[in-house]
């Protein structure tokens, strides 16, 4: 897998089918419906529970706005990921181009996915910092790999935005 800036796009080339599939799973990973821990993390409270008025107003007025914002970011990513459907040959590496104007949406969606997965599997700090973990042997291991891979992508996008 290679990253580079190509005109007004961030290009990820030599994407093998496994990593391409993980990218395809970003929108699905952002969906926190039915996963209580993930919902609580993504829509965390704005103030201590004792501030009942603030928390109640937040639920009514702010949370719907946040939902719209997160959905919009996910939809942008989903549209960019359509490029991966152009890889017609099985097991062939493919290329993804992220328009720089979509970089913030990608950062947001990748963060949603990372937080949702981490909350779903309740990863410990130790697990999240263990970058030399043994090969993937379970759905939980795959989740941890996703969190790290999406974080790697975030770093790449952030570095590019700084240039």
């Amino acid at each position: 897998m290679e990253f580079r800036r190509q005109n007004e796009c961030l290009e990820i080339s030599e994407l093998d089918p496994f990593l391409a599939e993980l990218l395809r799973q970003i929108p699905e990973s952002c969906n926190v419906e039915g996963v209580e821990a993930a919902q609580q993390r993504i829509f965390s409270g704005p103030a201590p529970a004792s501030e009942k008025e603030i928390c109640a107003e937040w639920k009514v007025y702010v949370e719907p706005e946040l939902r719209r914002l997160f959905r919009s970011a996910t939809e942008t990513v989903e549209a960019d990921l359509q490029q991966l459907n152009g890889c017609t040959k099985p097991f062939a590496n493919c290329t993804l181009r992220i328009p720089t104007e979509n970089a913030q949406a990608w950062l947001n969606a990748l963060n949603q996915a990372r937080l949702a997965i981490a909350a779903k599997y309740n990863f410990t700090d130790g697990e999240l910092c263990d970058h030399y973990r043994s090969p993937i042997g379970s759905r939980r291991d795959l989740g941890l790999f996703q969190v790290n891979f999406y974080g790697f992508l975030q770093e790449f996008i952030l570095q590019d935005l700084e240039l």
Binding site: I42, A47, V62, N108
Partner: protein, 101 residues
């Protein structure tokens, strides 16, 4: 009592101390809490974007969050504090507004 100018004040007018609504509503803080998932570089970028901080100062707050578990990013009126917290939640940071003790 007589002043040095030779005149006395018979009926002193005591003005009531008044404060603007902004001052009365001052004691609110925007606090960002530690989160093991958010990347340090991402948190720094968010502080720069939301509060317009220079990178060095944004990194200082990020490290405070990372090492001490929380950092006070801003304090002032409630309405503005709510707006900052909303922006921080938009970036998925763990942020709260709290009254200053």
């Amino acid at each position: 009592m007589q002043s040095s100018f030779g005149s006395s004040v018979e009926n002193p007018v005591i003005e009531q101390e008044t404060r603007a609504a902004e001052e009365i509503d001052l004691p609110w803080q925007v606090i960002v809490h530690n989160d093991p998932v958010n990347l340090m570089s991402y948190v720094t970028m968010v502080f720069q974007k939301v509060f317009g901080l220079p990178k060095e100062k944004a990194e200082k707050h990020m490290l405070e969050v990372h090492q001490l578990g929380r950092s006070i990013l801003w304090s002032g009126m409630r309405e503005r504090a709510e707006l900052y917290v909303q922006q921080l939640h938009g970036y998925l940071l763990l942020a709260t507004l709290e009254r200053t003790n």
